[in-house]
């Protein structure tokens, strides 16, 4: 019997199986941010275990609240900063160089096919786009990861999702993953890896694959995974070119991490998305999804483009294409947060930032800010936000606020009209 990508990664990283069904894996990349890591650091210090297992395998960023907004967040940032200096963690990203964790770490080439990756952040599943097993964990797992370079998991079963057909104009990876979550429901993939494949995924950029994998957790998934291929190698090439004679050689090497043709899945779901329309959430759970036609006309107070889901350059390009030469509605506050400094610079160079600003958007520094209502962009009671983020829980972006999840294109169209709007008429 063949193996899935996740099974292959588990087999290659197995350190111990203390009990049947529990696998302790060696971890290739432990990622840290300033919200969930400082308590881990404080606890390690209190236990007299202020050590790190490997300074080169730990990556850290200040991204959720940056620049700090008050004394408490300044303290969190300082704890992470002091710790990174104390242990000489080279890959630490602070103000001027910092960006949203799940955008900046892939951009730096830190994630490779076949890797095991953990972080104290639920959207760590994003990195599965590279053919890695990447899982969000809590602070205690993070702490053990930092100290020992291991993490325990139940071996996950895999749900295979085949995205067949071709995405119609105006329909993007965000719409595809909303469709998948509505199919699986919010806990349909608990203790499962969601493996994305099929012609639509094969044709997707790495950015789009990250958007897909980013929201695997919204169906309860331990991780999302895409098979590594030529697209993966093209993205990683600046970081791996010394290790391979050619891109073809890299593609061949990484292909070993793809699921075998006879791999056993928990479930296989085929979705033909050729007739998919732009989607939007309507309730407080990510599986509550309707077509934009059904939702069009719902007034919005704020439009947010950014986050680890959709703050990448291709997201900014598609939104700017719609906003070009137009003004957002006077009743709407438009906020753009490019996800990393690199994306910000590219967006400046391409004139995208100019387009957003001319349309009436406020442009912030790279940060998780508005997505979880922690810093800039918090909603007031009763306000509504059309958002490219990943979570629409009640009060997520501010107590009493409502969030509609949608693609950057749908966000841009909604900003223009001041209400949820179909992007296809602007393309």
């Amino acid at each position: 019997m063949g193996m899935t990508t996740a099974q292959k990664i588990f087999a290659a990283h197995l350190v111990d199986e203390p009990f049947a069904g529990t696998k302790v894996l060696g971890i290739d990349v432990v990622m840290c941010h300033e919200i969930t890591t400082p308590i881990a650091i404080a606890d390690l210090m209190a236990r007299g275990k202020d050590r790190v297992f490997d300074t080169t395998k730990i990556k850290a960023v200040i991204d959720h609240v940056t620049p700090s907004k008050d004394s408490k967040t300044a303290t969190q940032a300082k704890m992470l900063r002091d710790w990174a200096r104390r242990h000489e963690i080279k890959d630490f990203f602070d103000i001027g160089a910092n960006g949203v964790c799940h955008a900046i770490f892939p951009e730096k080439g830190f994630i490779r096919p076949g890797n095991t990756v953990i972080m104290g952040d639920s959207h760590t599943c994003t990195h599965g786009a590279f053919g890695a097993f990447a899982a969000g964990v809590g602070t205690t797992d993070l702490e053990v990861g930092i100290l020992k370079g291991v993490c325990a998991f139940r071996e996950p079963k895999t749900i295979r999702i085949n995205l067949n057909g071709t995405l119609p104009k105006g329909v993007y990876a965000k719409d595809a993953i909303l469709r998948v979550i509505s199919e699986l429901t919010v806990n349909g993939a608990t203790d499962r890896v969601i493996e994305f494949g099929g012609p639509i995924v094969d044709a997707m950029t790495m950015e789009s694959r990250m958007t897909l994998c980013n929201m695997a957790i919204e169906a309860g998934g331990t991780s999302g995974i895409c098979a590594p291929d030529r697209v993966t190698v093209d993205y990683l090439w600046p970081f791996i070119s010394d290790s391979f004679a050619s891109k073809e050689a890299a593609v061949a090497e990484y292909a070993k991490w793809a699921s075998d043709a006879d791999a056993e899945y928990d479930k296989v779901i085929d979705l033909d998305l050729s007739n998919l329309t732009p989607l939007c959430t309507f309730g407080y759970k990510p599986d509550q999804v309707k077509s934009i036609e059904e939702m069009a006309g719902t007034p919005v107070d704020q439009v947010y483009v950014g986050s680890c889901t959709n703050g990448r350059i291709e997201d900014l390009r598609v939104a700017a294409q719609i906003l070009k030469g137009k003004k957002i509605a006077p009743t709407v506050r438009g906020i753009l947060s490019p996800a990393t400094p690199q994306i910000y610079k590219e967006a400046v160079a391409e004139g995208l930032i100019q387009t957003f600003m001319d349309a009436g958007f406020c442009v912030t520094n790279p940060t998780c800010g508005a997505c979880l209502g922690m810093s800039n962009g918090v909603l007031a009671e009763g306000e509504v936000c059309a958002s490219t983020t990943n979570r629409n829980f009640m009060g997520r972006m501010g107590k009493g606020g409502m969030v509609h999840l949608l693609s950057p294109a749908t966000a841009a169209a909604s900003a223009i009209e001041g209400k949820l709007a179909d992007p296809r008429k602007y393309l």
Partner: protein, 175 residues
């Protein structure tokens, strides 16, 4: 050794998420104890008052499916822990929340929907109390002059974590 159980707090809804358990704005706190006043602050349920003595006096939570979905924040188990709630009983949990509970030496107990329904028959009893014996994987609920016991299952690893008091010491001694 933690005490597993006490007055029962019934939360009759599925998909109660981490934002409802502890809102993100409190993630700026850097000690567990500072989270204490904010337990379930944003949870809206008919008849539920997050600021009541019943909430803060509870020792066990009984709820429905997919409890703890959303964020990886361990602040969610911690806000229970610092309020003396070391056990949550549900039809099912989100994976990260469930593991966070065991990693902290607490218990996330999954029961079949029919068993959860049985527990909810005690919801109207003002004196409903649950005692959990992790070593023997049994729980007993008492209230309104009635009493009922049931067996549960947890994985050997999770049981070992609870009995060891958590994952850090377990891992540091072993790996």
């Amino acid at each position: 050794m933690k005490k597993f159980g006490g007055p029962a707090l019934f939360l009759d809804r599925s998909d109660i998420n981490t934002d409802e358990i502890i809102p993100a704005k409190y993630l700026t706190e850097i000690t567990k104890e500072d989270l204490k006043p904010y337990l379930l602050e944003d949870l809206k349920l008919p008849g539920f008052d997050p600021k009541s003595d019943k909430t803060f006096g509870a020792g066990a939570v009984v709820t429905r499916a997919n409890f703890g979905c959303g964020s990886s924040r361990e602040h969610a188990p911690w806000v229970f822990e610092v309020n003396g709630i070391h056990v949550v009983i549900a039809e099912s949990f989100a994976r990260i929340f469930r593991q966070n509970m065991f990693n902290c030496g607490m218990a996330a107990i999954e029961l079949a929907p029919e068993q959860i329904d049985r527990l909810f028959t005690f919801a109207d009893a003002a004196d409903a109390t649950i005692e959990v014996d992790v070593a023997n994987t049994t729980l007993t609920i008492k209230g309104g002059g009635r009493e009922e016991s049931m067996q549960f299952e947890i994985s050997p690893f999770d049981k070992a974590l609870v009995l060891a008091g958590g994952w850090v010491d377990y891992a540091d001694s072993k790996y």
